[in-house]
């Protein structure tokens, strides 16, 4: 499979001198799930923003290979915060991307409703964001990212505010849609078990400046509940945990400050 995403030698330094990324290199095969893990503040969000075209590298290149299909549906991102329009109901927030792409009203409502019930919010279509719990708001944002059936999906810690069971369901939902649509997924997460479960490839990042210190392939084919209980899985989790601990202690590679 060709690479859908290639990042090579990316550097991003902010005005105040913080070097969020330096020499970051990675690639993601089309149709695969890449997971980014790393300590808080190591540049994961910055990298995702660069991939989404919201920020530009100061050096190096980052590219998302063009794919067929309607432009608007190409790349979808769920931010670390829900970013909902406060005056729109859950349903109309989810329908927003379809509305902006000028889908027919009936069609977009149906698709939004279906997606809302897939994330477990079947009864909450008409609630306003201010009437939803934190986890429900995040799920609305995830539904909004998925409703366009994108070809590249960027998820920034979307499940952090969810209980483990809902989270497992959403993990499986993403994997299913990946299989259905041949979607390429980049997932930022803090849950090591989630990283191990979801990742075709896991990139461990270290801070100051942010960079990839390890690329790792768990190599699980089918994922299901049984996998989570298996010793193989436990071993991968332990290994990843080790890497992460190592990354936090990593000597800053030319970073300006801790």
């Amino acid at each position: 499979m060709p690479d859908a995403i290639t990042v090579s030698g990316v550097r991003r330094a902010f005005d105040d001198g913080t070097v969020a990324l330096d020499g970051t290199t990675l690639s993601v095969e089309r149709g695969s799930v890449a997971v980014l893990v790393g300590p808080s503040g190591c540049g994961k969000t910055t990298l995702l923003r660069i991939l989404a075209g919201l920020d530009a590298p100061d050096a190096g290149t980052a590219s998302v290979a063009p794919v067929a299909g309607e432009g608007a549906a190409r790349v979808s991102i769920a931010f670390q915060e829900p970013r909902l329009l406060p005056w729109r109901s859950a349903l109309r927030n989810v329908a927003l991307p379809l509305e902006l792409a000028r889908a027919a009203k009936a069609d977009r409502d149906d698709r939004a409703r279906a997606m809302l019930s897939l994330v477990g919010l079947g009864g909450a279509e008409r609630k306003l964001p201010g009437q939803l719990s934190g986890g429900m708001r995040m799920r609305v944002a995830i539904a909004r990212a998925l409703v366009t059936r994108p070809q590249v999906l960027l998820l920034d810690e979307p499940f952090g505010a969810l209980d483990e069971i809902t989270r497992h369901q959403l993990d499986d939902l993403v994997l299913r849609l990946r299989a259905e649509l041949g979607m390429t997924v980049v997932l930022v997460t803090h849950a090591i078990t989630e990283a191990a479960y979801m990742g075709d490839r896991v990139f461990v990042m270290a801070p100051s400046p942010g960079r990839v210190v390890r690329a790792f392939e768990p190599g699980f084919g089918m994922r299901d509940a049984a996998l989570r209980a298996s010793p193989r899985f436990a071993a991968v989790v332990a290994d990843l945990m080790q890497s992460l601990a190592g990354a936090m202690l990593a000597v800053p590679a030319g970073g300006v400050r801790a």
Binding site: A52, G53, L54, G71, A72, V75, S76, I77, F79, E81, R83, L85, P86, W87, L96, P97, E99, L100, A101, L128, P129, G130, Q131
Partner: protein, 266 residues
């Protein structure tokens, strides 16, 4: 169920009316007391009783004046509201335009009407057109400024979201920036509602017909020259009533527009 809801809404509305009425009554009493204590002379400050008497005696004149001035103010306000929101949106859309046109727009509100009165009368003729134009000129800037302000304050995160969803410029305006700016625009419109009345009156000072059916501006001018201070005050109060009605309409519209918004943020 719905009956209770209706009656409770009525009760809410009544409760909302109590504070302004209370303050109003307090003001009127203070005014009457001041007249009793300081005796400033009727030619300077008539008592509320005298003003009320005069207002009653001249009720036909004042009602007609209120109607005429109200129409001019409402017309000017409507023009200012549309122009202000549109111009504010355009200015918010482009840094270059904003820098270039915003200062020019401020110019508009710094031209004393009397200085451009000749131009205005020549362009618009005597009659309601001049007072409508004057009302519009005076009240457009607050709307423009608050629209601009509200739109530029749009949450950066949501603007980014619309960018990633490849929303067009018009879509972003209509579905994001305009709803976001509504609370701010409503404030601007409120300011404009009051200003449009004064704008209409000032327009009448230079460009209205005096006759049997005189608008408030002409009534004030004549009364001033005749030293009928009670009538001046009665006419000013009439203008205030017109302003309140406009203001109330704008507030009510704003309340409807803000309702969902507030439900969501509050």
């Amino acid at each position: 169920m719905s009956r209770t809801a209706a009656s409770s809404r009525l009760r809410t509305a009544l409760a909302a009316a109590v504070p302004p009425c209370a303050v109003l009554v307090a003001c009127v009493c203070a005014w009457q007391a001041a007249v009793w204590v300081f005796r400033p002379g009727e030619y300077l400050l008539p008592s509320p009783i005298q003003v009320a008497q005069e207002a009653w005696d001249s009720r036909a004149t004042l009602a007609r004046a209120a109607w005429l001035t109200g129409l001019s103010a409402a017309g000017g306000f409507a023009i200012a509201a549309c122009t202000g929101v549109l111009a504010g949106s355009v200015l918010a859309a482009s840094r270059f335009l904003m820098r270039g046109l915003y200062p020019i727009a401020t110019l508009l509100q710094m031209v004393p009407l009397v200085a451009i009165a000749p131009l205005l009368v020549v362009w618009c003729g005597y009659g309601w057109r001049t007072s409508v134009a004057s009302a519009a000129i005076v009240s457009v800037f607050p709307v423009l400024a608050s629209t601009l302000d509200g739109m530029r304050g749009t949450d950066r995160g949501l603007v980014e979201l619309f960018g990633t969803l490849r929303a067009g410029r018009v879509q972003r305006w209509w579905k994001l920036e305009l709803p976001w700016a509504i609370p701010s625009i409503v404030t601007g419109l409120r300011v404009a509602a009051g200003l449009s009345v004064i704008g209409a009156i000032v327009g009448e000072f230079v460009g209205a017909f005096a006759g049997n059916a005189s608008p408030v501006g002409i009534v004030i001018l004549s009364a001033l020259r005749e030293h009928r201070t009670e009538l001046v005050f009665a006419a000013v109060l009439t203008a205030a009533v017109v302003g309140f009605v406009l203001f109330g309409l704008v507030s009510a519209l704003g309340w409807v527009a803000l309702r969902r918004w507030h439900a969501s943020v509050g």
